[in-house]
Point group: D2
Chain length 413, copies 4
Amino acid sequence: MNRNDLRGKKILALVSGGLDSTTIVRWLSASGIDVTALTIDLGQPDEKNLDVIPARMKAAGAKEALLLDGKERLAEYMLQVIRGAASHEGGYWNTTGIARMATVAVALPVIRQHGIDVVTHGATGRGNDQVRFELALAMLAPEVSVYAPWRDEEFEAELGGRRLMIQYCQREGLQVTATEEKPYSTDANFCGLTHEAGRLEQLTTPSDFVDFIMGVSPMQAPDKVEELTIRFEMGTPIAVNGESMGIVEAFQTLNRIGGRNGVGIGIDVVENRRIGIKSRGVYESPGVSVLAYCYEKLLQLTLDRSRRKLMDVISRQLADAVYEGEWFSPTSASLLQVTEGIAQLATGQITVGLYKGNIRFVAAKDVPHSLYDEAGASMEKIGDLRHTWAEGYMQIADYVARRMAVAGQTRKP
Amino acid sequence: MNRNDLRGKKILALVSGGLDSTTIVRWLSASGIDVTALTIDLGQPDEKNLDVIPARMKAAGAKEALLLDGKERLAEYMLQVIRGAASHEGGYWNTTGIARMATVAVALPVIRQHGIDVVTHGATGRGNDQVRFELALAMLAPEVSVYAPWRDEEFEAELGGRRLMIQYCQREGLQVTATEEKPYSTDANFCGLTHEAGRLEQLTTPSDFVDFIMGVSPMQAPDKVEELTIRFEMGTPIAVNGESMGIVEAFQTLNRIGGRNGVGIGIDVVENRRIGIKSRGVYESPGVSVLAYCYEKLLQLTLDRSRRKLMDVISRQLADAVYEGEWFSPTSASLLQVTEGIAQLATGQITVGLYKGNIRFVAAKDVPHSLYDEAGASMEKIGDLRHTWAEGYMQIADYVARRMAVAGQTRKP
Amino acid sequence: MNRNDLRGKKILALVSGGLDSTTIVRWLSASGIDVTALTIDLGQPDEKNLDVIPARMKAAGAKEALLLDGKERLAEYMLQVIRGAASHEGGYWNTTGIARMATVAVALPVIRQHGIDVVTHGATGRGNDQVRFELALAMLAPEVSVYAPWRDEEFEAELGGRRLMIQYCQREGLQVTATEEKPYSTDANFCGLTHEAGRLEQLTTPSDFVDFIMGVSPMQAPDKVEELTIRFEMGTPIAVNGESMGIVEAFQTLNRIGGRNGVGIGIDVVENRRIGIKSRGVYESPGVSVLAYCYEKLLQLTLDRSRRKLMDVISRQLADAVYEGEWFSPTSASLLQVTEGIAQLATGQITVGLYKGNIRFVAAKDVPHSLYDEAGASMEKIGDLRHTWAEGYMQIADYVARRMAVAGQTRKP
Amino acid sequence: MNRNDLRGKKILALVSGGLDSTTIVRWLSASGIDVTALTIDLGQPDEKNLDVIPARMKAAGAKEALLLDGKERLAEYMLQVIRGAASHEGGYWNTTGIARMATVAVALPVIRQHGIDVVTHGATGRGNDQVRFELALAMLAPEVSVYAPWRDEEFEAELGGRRLMIQYCQREGLQVTATEEKPYSTDANFCGLTHEAGRLEQLTTPSDFVDFIMGVSPMQAPDKVEELTIRFEMGTPIAVNGESMGIVEAFQTLNRIGGRNGVGIGIDVVENRRIGIKSRGVYESPGVSVLAYCYEKLLQLTLDRSRRKLMDVISRQLADAVYEGEWFSPTSASLLQVTEGIAQLATGQITVGLYKGNIRFVAAKDVPHSLYDEAGASMEKIGDLRHTWAEGYMQIADYVARRMAVAGQTRKP
């Protein structure tokens, strides 16, 4: 799609409010296109003041400019990701991917109410975010088209590059903060931060090159264990350290506690992007990391051997689905039925100790669906499970194994 | 199988040399059974002196008593586990499971040369080790039977319990170290330690209750980052910090460095045993943990998106196979073909920083099969991959996604 | 468990009514044990008259003897198996396995109302049915124990074998039909028949050695195509050939039509039993085979590429779960959430032609969730999807593939 | 890529020799581009005379025109597909997909010897074949580019459509067989035929609308069972009906026998293309279908329960890899290690009866790695496996199942 295809249509621009946003909104408006700008408040920890963005977008030419709160939606989706154990390759908690899903979901009523024809976004042609925005949109609002300026040869030729955009805005008399170029780029919401590109592309730049925002590195954290207790009710954290709270507040509380102890700060991954190329990311997600550890401990107590294996398979697929923008797909519907079903069993209280980047298990209590059974697991004292039963069990297992050996099928040592 | 079935047969007792070993060897020998005792040196970090065990076993009644070195074999298998990313549920590196495989493999020539009819071991009827010893044996030596005293009602009635065994040995005039009963039990080899049972069965006992042997807890580690470089050649670590060494020495070196930095010390898991019951283990595996982290970083650089997914599935299955004693099975043959094949690409040098239980990536160099491509991944500078190509890519992806929405198949936000 | 453990307990015997049933009921009753006999009507096509069984069981000594209808339950479960595409190794439709689940489910209220302590069944110690009966029971009624005479050494010594049982019944004055021994054994219900053992154990006995009961072999079927149309509503067959009917009647109707055309008659499989040994089965399931083919065609129209792959994985696991008696397990709960969720999309009408064992697709109509799109799939006429979009798509795909080649990772031809 | 990008480059055109081939070769040559035409003999059953194609291509303007034999290569790859049980969705044996792989592999030396810069093919922008040709090329010859005229807007505008191409060739004085337009299109090689598009796009057109070429429909086949025996040696068919032959001849022989009995004729599938849209295909593959059935029977005898499950997963992924042109990918390398490893066990002789589209098992003989064991599987006669062992086995299984029930995790009936 090119800019020419937009004439006479109503455009919604998903904007973060920075240089790209200003440039795109102006560039489109200047050619007579009707642009509504929409910014979603996702509790971006690197942003002081989202409230000023609508005015800035109007100044850039937007007919209308909105700011909507997406924090509840993001928290709800993020919790489903955690319940799905859906961290992506190398342990990245998919915090940017899932935020794109929340953004589109929150934008949906605006699209409908404003009769939007085309949505535009500032994602480039080589990253994951174009895929995420567009697949979510296509699945939720199939009647809407997408215009991606970075894939438009005209835009790329005229404005492709930071310097060109600054010059353009200055020519147009638009105020753009002449921030010094950072040595890497950051995407943020209250669930996590993604740092990538720039100097981080070199595999000899360590993750601590990054200025962490949601917490400190383990080296900067206090030399003292901080204990923390989370109470879950059917998969939902309902209290932290005995204090009841909603899930947005729970994430924020866990961010603070995890962040100051260096937990989930600087997760460093070389990963496969949707289109197939590799990229490197350095991630922060203190609250998510703590919550996920505690939830996993509940799963260890409640998942039997067979369902553990199933969950392991399902969680890898769900991780890909989130990462690749397929959150609203039929496959995700199936995957989430499994993981949300399992979440119904995840009730209980987990205490951990946080220490300089480490999470260590301290205690589990009140887990009604636990399969763990002190008597049954004991070597010393036998509850119901008798040692001698194993004789028959093992005879059968050995018989089958011997049969494979006799058939010449087993490996040599 | 009962003791009576052993008359006139040649028995091989796999013995660690402690109270159980002494008791079983004497109990069998005393009824006229021909017992050969075999101890495997696996570099047990909790044992001072394995050399005295044969004499002790002879004193207990063994006709013959041998001590064999299994360290090379164990290192070889453990490396295959690491290449297979085959950590079990919750991140346990399967160090005890794989050691059972090495034990049986090293025992095999003894079985053949001594014309052994029956192998006996001291594993109980509720744990994994009975399964591991016996399946490995059945697959490598199907003509040999197994006798497990802990599943023999006669043995259990007469000697089932620590106190009964001590009294028996004293009555028989056998020297047994009157060690104070530990509050948990430990299994050890130079790849790792397993602590379980006793006080650890209570889920309110934290892992730091354990006296760590292979290193210190993160809280005791020095407040200083220690850098470490491993060079891999086709999946094999060939040098640590620039010094060439064999794999046994590599594990031992990494144990020292990792252990003193609290890395891989106190991995705490509630897991599903083979027979289906849950148990809790607290694990130490400093060298394995460091090596596995570095190997995984090579995989991140070399595995494409599709093979990453395959590897994730395969590694879960291999982890189960090791844990459950199926190392020599036809399925393991298939799984290892995949993971050993992938290892052929794992050449390169990885530097990490160790700090109080944390491993942080520092640098990757000289990775000839890397798919990571600074130009290709860059947002700024485009090598061959053009932004505008993505327009067609996304149009097709969007088309397919819209088709699903129109058919009423996508999820609601 | 031995017969002695049964004194003073209330026993429920699941009985089919034949020689084994009579023998077991008498053998237990004769030693003073309180036996209730329960027979479930599953529309067994090889049984003339189930009504006489209760009287026969009472004559054998049962305190009480019941006959309950399980056809609705079986049809409901079987449909879930079909929706799950859960045929087992080699295409066996799990008709016996699922019938065991229905039997236990129907027995459950009897167990509760009669205060049953122990359930007994006539399954042997080497087959799958012991596992199926017992796991289903353990999952639905964990407070109940199981007694399996064929695993009781006393029973095996005294009555283990057909001749011994006949002699016993004659001595006890019990009427047993002196049926000639069949050259194989059969298990039956209205969903399918299983033939195994005896002459069928020889792999040189072809399946046509069996006397088919639910239909004819393809060679005996008429030389004429018979068309058949099934209408599904959210996964449920609601009409056959335009005639509305419930699912029991649908299965029976499809049995008749499929059976007379040799469809699903003589499915011949060597399979892995739960305990690990192999066995051979020859199966009949005409109605199930026809229904499953038509349902699969609906799946072909509605499952996208990604969910197709997921479904393929899930269906293999569900097949194992049914085969191995895990129908009520937590894992099955997860698997069925996926397959039953997908079934919600399976609305439409499928016409097939049946001809001498073949099922051939004739037409699909009125499939509202279909993703098939004549315009979109056409080579000739392009709806929305433009040929030129593929240029960008392919450039990206080619770029990624070339990168793998340059890194030395691709295979040689 | 556009025609303009081809100036001064050496082009290899992969041509079948028909209207498209003639048009493309002329259209490129006419603008001064240096075209070498290459046709691969894959035993196309619908082609009388491939030998005349080079002359026709030269007449159309090709500088050079070659005909190479690809039958051995195709047979080798097809056998690997069969060993991998890699039939695609709905049972399509991937015969067209794998032929594209053979074509590229056979073209490779030509590309190298002629210093080819760009390869061109006649596949459209909406099908699978563009993906297959190009990924295979990218993986084997990453230095070579691809030009796809059907994705070139200039070509599409000028020549996009059958009528336009005929008129163009007539204007250019090129002889094109004025064949009547068929109501569907066909792709062929000696392993199989694919019919699609045209009238077949309507889901009310039955498969028998197709004029079958490799055999007859079941309805036309003789009313008589024809028996057939294949002997495999480590996964390779080495004799059919006792006569030794190479694999090309084996496929051809099985095509004849299978085809005349209506086996593998008219496989009818709605499938998901690589790019995500659905299409319908009607397939013929008599020889492949027979061979695959017999090979599967060997797998039934040799694969244990665990490796059967692994194989089921691997075969689905291999099927996708073939279908989607990833045959030379790193993932396929891993998948084929598994399936080719398993093939080493597949030795033995299988006899089947073919009858009007049906394949029925008759006998298996001389299978040295078979796990099937008449004694072990028998209900009557016990070899080594004792009924009473199952008591312990079941007690443990029941204990674990009861534990899940008590924890409130099992399903309700």
